[in-house]
Symmetry: C2
Subunit: 295 residues, 2 copies
Amino acid sequence: MFKVPEHQVAGHQAKNGVLGPLIDDSGNFYKPLQNDERGSKEVAFYTSLSSDPRVPDNIRRYFPIFRGTKVINASDGSGLHPHLVLEDVVSNYSNPSVMDIKIGSRTWDPHASEAYIEKCLKKDRESSSLPLGFRISGLKLVTSKDASIWQPSKKFLQNLAANDTKLVLSRFVSSNVASNDTTHPDCSFGSKVFGGPSGILEQLLELKKWFEVQTIYHFYSCSVLMVYERESLMNGSSSGAVVKLVDFAHVVDAEGVIDHNFLGGLCSLIKFISDVLEAPAENCIYNNNCSEDEH
Amino acid sequence: MFKVPEHQVAGHQAKNGVLGPLIDDSGNFYKPLQNDERGSKEVAFYTSLSSDPRVPDNIRRYFPIFRGTKVINASDGSGLHPHLVLEDVVSNYSNPSVMDIKIGSRTWDPHASEAYIEKCLKKDRESSSLPLGFRISGLKLVTSKDASIWQPSKKFLQNLAANDTKLVLSRFVSSNVASNDTTHPDCSFGSKVFGGPSGILEQLLELKKWFEVQTIYHFYSCSVLMVYERESLMNGSSSGAVVKLVDFAHVVDAEGVIDHNFLGGLCSLIKFISDVLEAPAENCIYNNNCSEDEH
């Protein structure tokens, strides 16, 4: 009945005896609750989000639907374990292309423990988070012809410079990425995935408007998930491009201030995506001295 | 010929043998060049700003006019010293009210030295910078009736919480602040100073638009200066409310990325000022346990 999600690109994966999320055939995503306060924080966030009248309806659709918690058998064989039950946001796609982008130059809450702050600050400084205001945590591109996959390693993605980030975003919406070469990405799906009235850019801009005024939550270490289906595009259908926010184990009360850390990173991502729409990456040589892995 | 500026509210002041800025009667502001790389960085910034065609004309007016460098006698009596020659942005005001707000939750450039980063990070965490995305570095309010002054100490200002910040911003545009009590600020000048088509909010929004797209500079530890004249308002004239950006000793190349750190802080300040315009501070009790000094 429970399966390991095929399209997860970041976070703990329920493989090789590791505790990770599971899905079922009814479109549910079961996320194991972490034993420390992160688990209870994420439940508290989803509970609050579901009931807080200050969250506008047009914004709710950017979050996975929350269906409570459930005790099921853990993926690591350790027996029964409580899980969050969420909407599986990719259950309606046959071969989704997915990118997970952790937003914010700072992934730590000022009230966190010194040890945690130190760990996060080190990661933020060693990754793209500090320079770019976000980092690509994972991506999976299912090419349309033969469903072959481009899934660069975490190591390759973690400290991309600006040009390389633009290149990866360009490749994410290009048709000529079957082989792992440095061919000029054609961005042939850019206008339909990133652009258009219901494309990813418009969705990010709608989120931005909310973040300019909302003083309910601060979202540390939260990700923007971008999903679309290349096959549909090839068949002349809609790309099904959606933006979802995920991972709320480090959400805290806003204490009367907007989430300037998330908003700054979101604006940076928006600028990158606008740039790719206006002019695809010109430079096709990765500068991060990290060879790209294929899976 | 040279005088100590009366209306400086933050930074080194040219008093008691300290090296600080000087002004003259022709509207010039002489800022001593720091001997380390900060001095040369600020000159490089002003030189670049003056000549870079990518900076739009409507944005240039937010920076003091740059008139080169000049060697003059230093304020500390140490003899000749090179100074930046800038427009004295308050020279046309008789009794300007001034607020200096350091923008950004992070005042350090990722490429700075470890020692400098550590020092700044500590300050950012101990001040309002981290929670609010900005900190009020100084303010001086000249009340209209008898030109008495409200100038809270640096210590009082440095770690204001959200409610206290709203209260200080409210008092900045209120008529009933002659005494240092906790009277409900009336915000009677709010609509004319913060609001209106040429008010401070509109100016900040124009800057925000630029920061959403500019990938020329990253402004670390730079301040927004808000200036207006209460006397003019009392006489039914314009408030002369202006926004200026100052202090560019830590400006670095943007390397293809927007200044998400500055932009986030700017958006946070914009939200505070919008809130004050919509509803003046309701809470008149400072929560930071720091008694307020008057000068």
